[in-house]
């Protein structure tokens, strides 16, 4: 089992979610985050004073999936989250040791 964390542009969430659905991924946990990276933030004005706001609103997806699903998930995210502009985001993969479904107590891949 692996965990995929993808940082994407917020307005791409709907697309990505739909494409993931199509390949059978139904469990996703989403967090609103702020990103610092190459993509620059914006400036804001307050009574003539200019302030840099460095962070960029981003959306983080977390998906726990079985090892064999990983390549296709990555492919789908790469495609559907891409705009070609700076700030499209990252995908990180790490390993997960166990998963448990609270409702049923199921463990392992059947829990995800």
């Amino acid at each position: 089992m692996k965990k995929i964390e993808a940082i994407i542009k917020p307005f791409k969430l709907d697309d990505v979610k739909e494409e993931l659905n199509k390949i059978g991924i139904h469990g996703i946990t989403v967090t609103e985050v702020k990103g610092f990276g190459r993509q620059k933030g914006h400036t804001e004005l307050y009574r003539g004073a200019e302030y840099r706001v460095d962070f960029v609103p981003k959306t983080k997806l977390e998906i726990i999936a079985s090892d064999e699903m990983i390549p296709s998930i990555i492919e789908v995210i790469e495609k559907s989250a891409k705009t070609g502009n700076i700030g499209d985001g990252k995908i990180f993969i790490s390993s997960v040791e166990e998963a448990i479904r609270i409702r049923t107590g199921e463990k392992g891949e059947s829990a995800i």
């Binding site: 004005l45 307050y46 003539g48 004073a49 200019e50 302030y51 840099r52």
Partner: protein, 442 residues
């Protein structure tokens, strides 16, 4: 003769009936005029309009601060309504508007607790309305004057100290200034100072007190070092600004104390100067910083309301446009150039907008007062340069008095009970530390 006699008798009888009805009118006209329901209706409505200005100010200020201070900022305005309302009835109205007790600067204590004031007593200040409503109308001015000061102090002043401050300041600063500018026999009143609705009494007075407070308090942690400007919800500021504009019609047009052409004129120039100032501030910012901000528009509108206040019963519509255009650029410059240079932390610009805008308005009254609008005022451009001198004397005297007294009051409060919250409290925010509440659970 019989016929004549009969006719005369009838006439006489009718006359008596008529006379008994007409007489009081004349008598009243000679001494106190009759109550005029239309005037009462307008001043009652105006008083309600001015009341809403203080919570509106709370929202205007409250939207600009960090979210951890939103409730505290609004409540500084709110509690002021409460403390000043009670103090006003008990002693302060009498000191501010009672018969002069001393040199035209302080009223006597005739109206302590309003005990000596009858329900149908005609106001000394306009006999067509009852005294009670004049007391209320003026109360609303006193409230907002004190509340305005908080704009220089937010995000760091102790709530308890603010409560104490409001009671002291409205007594020993507001009352004498009101009496001397507006009181019958007041010092500047006798000199011929023109202040229709409070350029000096309200705006210079409060703005300068705000500066004194900001200096005694010191700067907020991180001021000019990091970005401590994160307005939590600017729509509050717009809401507050809009309600201020709305209420200000009561402030200025209500100051005519009657439903008349003069009230209409005050209404018109108020709206006009406000609009012009909003545009002027917006354009100044657009040119200087590259974007027209909503905060800029609303700040400009408030500056315009401030500047037209003393002039509202004296100037014509075109002068109002000029007054508005000037004040927008002027206050923007204060905020953008002067404040950072001098380094005082006038958090929400009570000084920069109210003292400076009010001073410009008071001066402009001396320039533009048009006797065709109001025979009581004639400015420089209508041949009376002397008026400018009177205005300057009044501006400087009020500003000087307010600054010195306010500085002393703030310093004494600081000595006796501490004026500023602790560093940890400032960091945690005043909502939690002063009130154990938080603004949002979203």
């Amino acid at each position: 003769m019989n016929k004549i006699n009969r006719i005369l008798t009838v006439l006489g009888g009718l006359f008596l009936v008529l006379f008994s009805w007409v007489t009081p009118v004349f008598a009243a006209a000679a001494k106190t005029p009759k109550f005029v329901p239309g005037n009462i209706a307008w001043v009652l409505a105006s008083t309600a309009l001015v009341l809403i200005m203080t919570p509106a100010l709370g929202f205007y200020y409250g939207g600009m601060v960090r979210k951890k201070n939103v409730l505290n900022t609004i409540s500084l305005s709110f509690i002021t309504i409460c403390t000043v309302s009670v103090v006003w009835i008990l002693w302060d109205y009498s000191m501010a508007f009672g018969p002069d007790a001393f040199l035209g600067i302080i009223g006597n204590l005739k109206y302590l607790g309003l005990a000596a004031m009858g329900v149908n007593q005609h106001s000394r200040y306009d006999g067509t309305i009852p005294s009670f409503i004049y007391v209320m109308f003026q109360l609303m001015f006193a409230i907002i004057t004190v509340a305005l000061i908080s704009g220089s102090l937010v995000e760091r002043i102790k709530f308890s100290s603010w409560v104490v401050f409001t009671i002291i300041w409205v007594t020993i600063v507001y009352a004498p200034v009101a009496q001397s500018v507006w009181g019958i026999g007041g010092l500047f009143q006798k000199m011929g100072a023109l202040d229709f609705a409070g350029g000096t009494v309200v705006h210079i007075n409060s703005g300068v007190a705000g500066l004194a407070g900001a200096l005694v308090l010191g700067k907020r942690k991180g001021y000019m070092k990091e970005n401590i400007v994160q307005p939590n919800q600017l729509a509050y500021t717009i809401l507050g600004g809009a309600l201020l504009w709305f209420g200000w019609f009561g402030f200025n047009a209500g100051s005519a104390l009657e439903a008349s052409g003069l009230a209409a004129s005050a209404f018109l120039v108020t709206n006009t100067a406000t609009a012009a100032a909003a545009i002027s501030w917006m354009l100044a910012e657009w040119i200087h910083s590259g974007k027209p901000t909503t905060l800029g528009m609303i700040s400009g509108a408030v500056a315009g309301l401030v500047a037209i206040t003393p002039a509202s019963g004296f100037v014509n519509p075109l002068a109002a446009i000029v007054i508005g255009l000037v004040v927008g650029v002027l206050c923007y410059s204060m905020v953008v150039f002067v404040k950072p240079k001098l380094g005082y932390d006038d958090s929400l610009d009570a000084f920069n907008v109210h003292a400076i805008g009010g001073a410009w308005g008071a001066l402009a009254t001396g320039l533009f007062a048009d006797p065709l609008i109001n025979p009581a005022g004639r400015g420089l451009f209508y041949g009376n340069p002397h008026q400018v001198v009177i205005q300057l004397i009044t501006i400087l005297s009020v500003a000087g008095y307010s600054f010195v007294m306010s500085f002393i009051i703030f310093t004494l409060i600081d000595k006796f009970m501490g004026l500023r919250v602790s560093k940890e409290q400032e960091a945690m925010g005043l909502d939690i530390t002063q009130h154990e509440e938080s603004g949002y659970n979203l």
